[in-house]
Symmetry: C2
Subunit: 190 residues, 2 copies
Amino acid sequence: MDELKLRILTDGKNLGNGILKVDGFINHQVDSALMDACGRELARRFSRVSATKILTAEISGIAPALTTAMHLGLPVVYARKSKPITMPDQIFLTLAPSHTKGRAVELIVSPEYLGSGEKVLIIDDFLATGQTIMGLVRLAQAAGARIVGIGAVIEKTFEGGRDLLAPLGVPIEALAVIRDMSEGRILFAD
Amino acid sequence: MDELKLRILTDGKNLGNGILKVDGFINHQVDSALMDACGRELARRFSRVSATKILTAEISGIAPALTTAMHLGLPVVYARKSKPITMPDQIFLTLAPSHTKGRAVELIVSPEYLGSGEKVLIIDDFLATGQTIMGLVRLAQAAGARIVGIGAVIEKTFEGGRDLLAPLGVPIEALAVIRDMSEGRILFAD
């Protein structure tokens, strides 16, 4: 997606250690028009997987998951990292190691909103190590739901997430695929 | 907004102590079409305030703030509750007492994305005690920005938020105004 790649090159910052700062348009400040365009493109790429629900993780997954959901006409569930008082006692919970936080975070979904009949499309802002997305996969599997696709706004191929997720046998799409961030570079895969 | 009120009456749950569970369409699972309609209506109500930026708080403010931003063609900044590694050392930080969490939470915005020239429209899912929104007001004021409006999807008038915010002298709008939740009721103001 050229619009996104151009924005990453102009406003993104390579902070070293594989950390890409996109706080100015994706993660803290959100460019709403760009995020809408990302959702439209992800919806187009997954238009044939017949998803019934989109699943993401708070916090930064919410924006791309919501715009994708709007374009597919689907509800979106975001896994919580702490259990709100409105959630029932019986929940689906998994631990996902966080590369950027340096510790494991909880991912929690209420069984009220993830059922065995669902065909789940997972959307997140980043596909990096794939650990957060793998946590979402476990939650969906615990609910008896079926994963039908995985989409991300930005992928960093050198952190191996796609290899981790490949055995699931579902389509994996990313709108900007970065293959190299060494020595201050931001190099796309194509 | 009749569509929203009807949904609150059919899918919302009064859990007592003023707690309204809307996890099925706003807070955990999001009805993307309804959220888009809420954003469109908030954008319509604030079409004349000439905002340059929308400000909200993670987590549940993100969805309504993003859809409002899309309809107004504006960027949205969501205040973080913990400082990500991509944020500079110098930040705007305030503490906001959380009614539902029973403790104060930090609200953090990077000075990179909130400047003195900004005209800020604050959007959140709930206007209840007004403490979170007042925290956002303090952040914007610390940045030298001007508040031009405050919008919420749902207001609970009996928790006093509107009175707290009234001295700011800006338009305050909510799409569903609940005046009474005693004894299991959900009564709207009009």
